[in-house]
Symmetry: C2
Subunit: 300 residues, 2 copies
């Protein structure tokens, strides 16, 4: 396992972690500067932040800092109420793939979606198998385009508590079953045979509880492990979406899981993604980023 | 599939559903009377409620009403900080088994526990594999006694969002793996070969999201399906423990899951278990029970 204690060269910051600072939204350009000032070599930004900052301006700023993207957040949300909605989702995913390519991201992360309308509290249907079928169809269609462009797609299995409204792919095993079905040869989107065209983004927050985690990480292998996200599970967890903990402040066995991931061949960034409306989003970005660096060295 | 639309003979009420009425704790004897008044033939009470009411008095009241127990809540919470704690948990589970027998319960439901101390926010350790190992050892020891007494034990897989503090068995597949390991012949605790000594309590709230649910229900079969619990998954879910919905008020495909369970041979009660601090526990018991009956007929 790589030694993280001496530096933070393998630390990436998902910009959601510091998108709010002292309770206020912060522009992406400022976040990039804050990361660059600390020698952070990679980020993973969100589409709405990039849109607000300008795609080309963001690409230029990243190049100027020599900064990489460990991923781009996010494509997905495939299920829809009707055929027009399904088409619109595919179009939106093509745009996300193009943006990810412009920013030279390692992968486009897919939060696949679930029951359409559920996020607004009014699901158009409750047939979970239908949502899953629409997800598979949507990934298949997007994958075709992603292969042409050369942008790997990373399915992020989300915690089962988000199965109704955000993602109906909720275990690594299920995500890998879909990868094997749609990309059986795992031969690469970029001509790079070490990386499959379709793989997974493994966020410890979503999968730490899974009794089959170690087994399925080994199954995934380096070809399918396209991204690795860390944070922690707080006790108590006060909200189903925005109460993630800083690494070390919860119960997730971070080193153990990283060991499994690296034993499978993963050698990329350890990306910190913390949604924390009640805690970290209330602090300064400087404090949050400095703590990420410290914890990356001490507990990841 | 059985027709529930004409009557509620297969409705059971988990007494947690009405343990608070208009915000105040209600004695078990009153809950039993309220259920009996409505022709409800079965309940599943909690140990603390039974202790407060008196075990023998409760047994007498149940007999007087001809009321059955679809289950008894609960044994489990096996992992502990030290050897003394592990022994104390086993002793407590023996008492729970005895109580369940006195009350002639269909099974003792096991909420198996997880990281010891986590419920209080201070886990003694975070080694999830250790907790799972202690759970398996605890079930094995309890099973030996339960076989002597003739009381089936039902492992209840809990939702993964409760993996840290309440139960580290979080999928039906994992629960059945443990059943097969500890009770490979499934030959029965009561001399009744139709019911295994060790099986599962399947609560739709905990398992509805699982992509392997149908497959694993079929695997369980009637021998392992010892209890079936219903409620619903609200949008949004505002609390990880106490924001369950009334059947029909959420997104769980209740009829579909009951169809799978009955196809596997389950022919017992459909037990309503709703923890709802924000909604149903604020209403009268009469309104909650009448609604349970109505929804049992219309959406379960």
């Amino acid at each position: 396992m790589r030694d993280f204690t001496q530096d933070h060269r393998w630390l990436s910051i998902n910009t959601a972690t510091v998108r709010k600072q002292q309770g206020a939204e912060v522009p992406l350009a400022r976040i990039i500067d804050q990361c660059a000032e600390r020698g952070i070599r990679a980020i993973s930004p969100w589409r709405d932040q990039v849109a607000a900052a300008g795609l080309d301006a963001t690409a230029r700023q990243l190049r100027a800092h020599g900064m990489e993207l460990s991923g781009y957040c996010r494509g997905g949300f495939f299920p829809a109420a009707d055929a027009a909605g399904l088409r619109a989702a595919l179009d939106d995913n093509r745009r996300a793939i193009d943006e990810a390519k412009t920013l030279n991201a390692a992968c486009l992360v897919l939060v696949v979606g679930a029951l359409p309308g559920a996020l607004d509290g009014t699901p158009h249907y409750t047939d979970l198998a239908r949502a899953r079928s629409e997800v598979v169809d949507g990934i298949a269609a997007s994958l075709e385009y992603a292969r042409q462009v050369g942008m790997p797609l990373a399915i992020e299995p989300l915690h089962p508590m988000q199965a109704a409204d955000r993602a109906c792919i909720n275990t690594l095993e299920h995500a890998l079953d879909i990868c094997d079905a749609l990309d059986p040869l795992a031969t690469g989107a970029t001509g790079d045979a070490r990386q499959a065209a379709l793989g997974v983004a493994l966020d410890v927050y979503h999968v730490w509880w899974d009794p089959k985690l170690q087994q399925q990480i080994a199954r995934a292998g380096k070809e399918r492990l396209l991204a690795f996200h860390v944070c922690d599970w707080r006790l108590p967890t006060r909200d189903l979406l925005s109460d993630r903990g800083m690494m070390g402040d919860g119960v997730i066995e971070l080193k153990k899981i990283r060991q499994w991931v690296e034993a499978a061949g993963f050698a990329g960034y350890s990306e910190v993604e913390i949604f924390s409306a009640l805690d970290w989003w209330q602090r300064t970005g400087e404090e949050t980023l400095d703590t990420c660096i410290e914890r990356h060295r001490s507990v990841v």
